[in-house]
């Protein structure tokens, strides 16, 4: 299915950079091991996992489910401590796997939640978030509650909330996994444009290899649990990338091969 990046004209020309993040900064994870004690014994989610993302780099992490991707992002965001290994990362904001929007807040207030969490007043937080809602194609839905938004809109609000946290690193946990194929393709094009205009260091977790190749500068392939790196593929292609381009398909195939999914 051809989804042309050129058809996504949601964003106007780059807007003056808001003073949201404290300068570029990267992520460096080395030999991280994380083990959970469960009733059925110990589960090692990550085993000597390493990952780097240079400032402004988009790194996709692909791997089978249960291989420790969410655990990795929580470690980057400081929500979990590894059992061993070193973690150095600029402050990171999480976009959780489920959109986790607050059902009692409007789209605008949900987007502004990170500001409110920092103690910004209600009116000022709204004033900051409102123009972004418009840029994200959500104009007219400011007062709509999440239950009335479509899946794609909810993901956009959720992403905006993460963006407005003002952290140099974005940790995106399978942001489009819950969407139907058409909406997902649209949202991938959309995210590519947003990141072109709002450069951040991004760790994008996904189990969609195609999504990884279309969006990322590097694709890190993880093994099944316990998760560790089995391949680190450079994607040196111009943007916007088309999922039907032969170079994209080539890298996709080699990533799938590393996942052990080649025929």
């Amino acid at each position: 299915m051809p989804a042309k990046g050129a058809t996504h004209t949601i964003l106007p020309a780059p807007v003056k950079e808001l003073d949201l993040h404290q300068g570029p900064a990267g992520v460096c994870i080395e030999n991280v091991t994380r083990t959970f004690a469960t009733r059925r014994g110990e589960v090692t989610a990550l085993a000597r996992m390493s990952l780097t993302a240079a400032a402004g780099e988009i790194v996709a992490v692909v791997g089978p489910s249960g291989c420790g991707k969410t655990t990795l992002l929580e470690i980057i965001c400081g929500l979990q401590e590894p059992d061993s290994g070193t973690v150095r990362s600029a402050p990171a904001a999480l976009m959780p796997q489920r959109d986790l929007l607050l059902p009692w807040l409007s789209a605008l207030d949900n987007a502004a939640l990170a500001l409110r969490a920092r103690g910004v007043g209600r009116e000022q937080a709204r004033a900051t978030a409102a123009p972004w809602l418009e840029r994200f194609g959500l104009a007219g839905f400011e007062r709509t509650r999440p239950a009335q938004l479509s899946g794609g809109m909810r993901q956009r609000v959720s992403f905006l909330r993460t963006l407005l946290a003002g952290k140099p690193v974005l940790a995106l946990d399978e942001p489009f996994a819950s969407l139907d194929a058409i909406t997902r393709a649209e949202m991938q094009g959309w995210l590519g444009q947003v990141l072109a205009n709002e450069p951040r260091t991004v760790v994008l977790v996904t189990h969609d290899v195609e999504e990884a190749v279309v969006l990322a500068d590097r694709v890190v392939v993880m093994s099944p649990r316990p998760g560790r790196v089995v391949a680190d593929l450079e994607v040196a292609l111009d943007r916007p990338r088309h999922r039907t381009a032969s170079e994209v398909i080539e890298i996709r195939e080699s990533a799938l091969e590393c996942l052990g999914m080649d025929r």
Binding site: E74, C77, G78, L79, A92, A93, L94, P96, R98, L100, L102, P103, W104, L113, A114, R116, A117, R118, G119, F141, T144, R145, A147, Q148, L149, S150, G152, M153, A165, K167
Partner: protein, 256 residues
């Protein structure tokens, strides 16, 4: 049409029950001092209306004040327990234990301590009805999505801001559930408190009507108590819909 569907079934059920009751008393040769017919109760409702009303006002005041006290107390305790592990360990078992102490024992002691006025009634009402509020509110806190709390931490939210923006609103529907249970129990509490020692209120009237051989008046008092409890419940449901509309909003997309 929708209203008719909601009102008709209980109305028909009541009519059938009252009809059967009326027939049983009329045709069964029952002593009406033992069991008055619905017709007798209706007559008492009409003839004693000013007496019933003035006593209802006394009871209503007790229930409302006691109910508010119970909700404030119950909610406050739940929040305190939520914030302090130590307090949870220390207080929660005592709270559960407090529910096993028979109010029958406490009420007369309260009379000695606090006299025959409003105070002992409020204490009895609050005592019997704060507990559902504590339990439902704590259940609400426990049900808060922990991933949401993690998210708030990545946004650098303080404990208090996480509470204010996430835990509190998420728990509000449960607080209303607790309050609804509390008002129902509060009515029983008020009647019991009046029964133990008072000079006014529907519970007092109820207590007086039996030795005065006015069973129809006693039943009229009970009927009014029932309607009062239902009305309070309805008012709370209404307030709930206004205060936490998102808990009722149907899921559904406005646009693609």
């Amino acid at each position: 049409m929708r209203l008719a569907r909601r009102v008709l079934p209980p109305a028909i059920l009541l009519l059938v029950l009252f009809g059967a009751w009326e027939l049983y008393v009329d045709l069964g040769g029952v002593d009406r001092l033992v069991l008055p017919a619905p017709r007798d109760v209706a007559r008492s409702l009409f003839e004693d209306r000013s007496l019933l009303l003035s006593n209802l006002l006394v009871t209503a005041k007790e229930v409302l004040l006691g109910g508010v006290l119970a909700v404030v107390l119950g909610f406050g305790l739940a929040v305190a327990i939520q914030f302090s592990r130590t307090l949870r360990a220390a207080v929660y078992p005592l709270l559960i234990g407090s529910q096993a102490v028979p109010v029958v024992v406490i009420a007369p002691v309260l009379l000695i301590w606090l006299g025959f006025g409003l105070a002992p009634k409020l204490v009895v009402i609050a005592l019997v009805s704060f507990f559902p509020v504590v339990v439902t509110t704590l259940a609400g806190f426990a049900a808060v999505d922990q991933d949401l709390m993690k998210l708030m931490r990545t946004f650098d939210a303080t404990r208090l801001r996480s509470f204010w923006h996430v835990e509190l609103p998420a728990t509000m529907p449960r607080v209303f559930t607790g309050a609804k249970i509390a008002v129902a129990v509060a009515v029983i509490g008020a009647v019991f408190a009046e029964w133990t020692g008072s000079s006014a209120g529907l519970g007092y009237l109820l207590n007086q009507s039996i030795p005065q051989l006015l069973p129809a008046r006693a039943m009229a008092s009970v009927a009014i108590l029932c309607v009062f409890a239902i009305a309070l419940f309805g008012l709370l449901s209404l307030a709930e819909r206004v205060a936490v509309p998102w808990a009722y909003q149907p899921r559904g997309e406005i646009s693609p």
